[in-house]
């Protein structure tokens, strides 16, 4: 048997996420990623029905534990959970005992004592989800940990690209912005390189992580080079508080050197897609004309987020196997 057909066999064998948690894209195989994307297509159809609900997670309890403010991601998870008929519970910092100085481990163990099936965790510390997965029996879904990963964002980005371009392999994808502090970047690099895309990353040298080339990407600070013939341009948020770290002189200067303008867009392929994980800083990393223009798929990303998160929840709960057993 040659290698290609072996790979095919393995790929066909992937019908469930046989893992307890979704901690990052780094741990996923290309087959697992494609399984999530394929499942998300079916889930997307649920969102078009008059009654947008299926019983897949009926009787399951999902806790959304958010230690950082989030509108988009938390809402998206909550809608996904409700469409799958799960019982959901939102805990946000400031409304819980964490303000009394309880540790993350103790909070999680207390929650776990009430037997949830899954914990969706957003936390400012890189590795918080790995840590929790060692403490808890519940499935942990990473909704963004520090500067590490944001796997469901990368999955919804890939879903959105695949929906338009029908493939990821061979596409030139330029990711531009604050690379250093971005968990979206790290998850996207893992995912896009695993599926064969040609990934370029671009930003000021002060915001490029050490040894970034070992991830299998091309790094540059020349934005024209990154954008040239790109199939997809993904802008990353410039966090305004980073100014204090003197990573760059001013937002105005950042926009001058790296901002995505209509002029720069001309260098990309004519069918280029403009993406942004949000929240956007108009006039900093992206000109409003580009954000609101015909190439922008930013709102499609948000819409697809629900379908992708439904797929992740469903597959981690056991997918079709779980449903048959029930």
């Amino acid at each position: 048997m040659n290698t290609t057909s072996q790979e095919l066999d393995q790929k066909q064998a992937v019908t469930a996420l046989r893992r307890k948690d979704l901690l990052g894209i780094a741990e996923l195989s290309p087959g697992e990623i494609e399984l999530v994307l394929d499942t998300a297509e079916a889930m997307k159809e649920v969102g078009t029905r008059p009654i947008k609900k299926v019983p897949a997670l009926r009787g399951k309890t999902v806790v959304n534990l958010f230690y950082e403010p989030s509108t988009r991601t938390r809402t998206s998870f909550e809608i996904a959970e409700k469409r799958l008929s799960a019982d959901t519970l939102n805990i946000a910092i400031g409304t819980s005992s964490v303000v009394k100085g309880e540790t993350l481990a103790d909070t999680a163990l207390n929650l776990e004592a009430m037997s949830p099936d899954m914990i969706v965790l957003r936390h400012a510390s890189s590795g918080a989800c790995h840590f929790l997965s060692r403490v808890c029996r519940s499935a942990i879904i990473n909704a963004g940990d520090g500067m590490h990963e944001h796997p469901t964002q990368a999955l919804l980005d890939a879903f959105t690209i695949r929906e338009r371009k029908k493939r990821l392999a061979g596409l030139k994808i330029a990711i531009i912005g604050d690379l250093l502090h971005s968990r979206v970047l790290r998850s996207n690099i893992h995912l896009l390189t695993k599926l064969g895309a040609n990934v370029w990353v671009c930003g000021p040298p002060t915001l490029i992580p050490a040894d970034i080339r070992r991830f299998g990407v091309t790094a540059t600070s020349a934005v024209e080079e990154a954008v040239h013939d790109a199939d997809v341009i993904m802008l990353l948020r410039i966090q305004l508080e980073r100014m204090e770290g003197a990573y760059f002189p001013s937002l105005r200067e950042y926009f001058r050197v790296f901002g995505m303008t209509e002029a720069r867009l001309q260098l990309a392929r004519p069918d280029v897609m403009i993406m942004h994980p949000g929240p956007m800083n108009r006039g900093v990393e992206i000109a409003s004309e580009v954000a609101d223009g015909p190439y922008s798929v930013i709102l499609d990303q948000v819409a697809n987020g629900v379908a992708v998160r439904m797929a992740v929840l469903y597959l981690l709960a056991g997918g079709a196997e779980h449903e048959e057993a029930a």
Binding site: G127, F131, G146, F215
Partner: protein, 438 residues
Amino acid sequence: MKRLLKGGRVVDPANGVDGVHDLLIEDGRIARVGRDLPVEGATVVEIPAGFVVCPGLIDMHVHLREPGQEHKETVATGVASAVAGGFTAVACMPNTSPVNDNANVTSLILARANEANLARVYPIGAVSKGSKGELLADIAELKQAGCVAITDDGHPVATALLMRRALEYAGMFGMPVIEHCEDPTLKGDGVAHEGFHASSLGLRGIPGAAEALGVERGVLLSELTGSAFHVAHMSARASMRAVRKGKEAGVRVTCEVAPHHFTLTDEALASPIPYDTNVKMNPPLREAADRDAMLAGIADGTVDAIATDHAPHHYDEKKVEFDRAPFGIVGLETAVPLALDRLVHAGLIRLPRLVELMSAAPARILRVAGGSLAPGSAADITILAPDLKVRIRASQLRSRSKNTPFDGWELRGGVAATIVGGRTVYVNPETVMGSGVI
């Protein structure tokens, strides 16, 4: 009272001894070293073939946490850990609570050491009051109370000017200044070595240059003042280069390397346990090129000493998110197995060089007794079982804290027994000596 250690391989580089010899202990001191010494009424302790008798090991960089952080370690538990690790003496850092910047704290530490009566304890005083980097501590008072060196360890000495003054002033008493070398602005809020693994895991990085800047500053100021400057827990290849250049230029600079820095790399951040807080220390585990530079410095003589930077932390403090965990690991009971396995059995150095690194050199740098088996010296002796199969078990450590990344490691080489002032203070039950008379 006389005891004759019979038939061991005596390794005493300070006196050029390496061979099978007998060693006679009389009234807590070494009386004679030689072949086939007469028994003459001494209790005979047969040293098994292959075991090594060497001057007691000295760890010149430990944190005993008392006073103030007794939930992590006390002087008593720290010295129990030390003797189980083969150390007959330790030098303890001043970052206690309160800081050891005055004779009261020094005296308390020495009193506790005296009560414990296991390893010798040499307190190290603070450079500045409260280690705040503003005013010099009362260094003469510290010296008189028993401190052997000064440092603001945990942090670098705040300014170049204060470091200059510390070197000049401590030089008057023949005390070295030990420096935690680090440019705090370049370190920033970093928690791991800046490189591929920190990038991948999303951890804020600390470049090797942050340490090397501190080393370069110290070497320059040591040259300016003519005083002895010692680099603590060195980890970066650029630091090694700076020390090597300084030594070539005749500067009075010495340095130490910790076992974790010659054993592990930043790959340990990712596996086997991602974000394990027991691989978080400062300076951080660095990349392979840095680790290899530490090994090269140990082999070529640039590195003077091996010191553990034993840094106990309670498990509650380590059982948190990676960036919230304190820096540091325990090291007293893993140093000898790591050094024998990774340095001696790996063929990098021979045993006499290891004894130099772990005994003679620390004694010389701190200007304390020990490091030699010359007749008349206190009988501080470590007996090594260089071929013993050792399995590190965190739960079995004598230290009050168990924060080690080496749990479950199997290593070749261990400690058989530890003798302080002629008194056996530790016998390893897993060696044949455990059942014999010692």
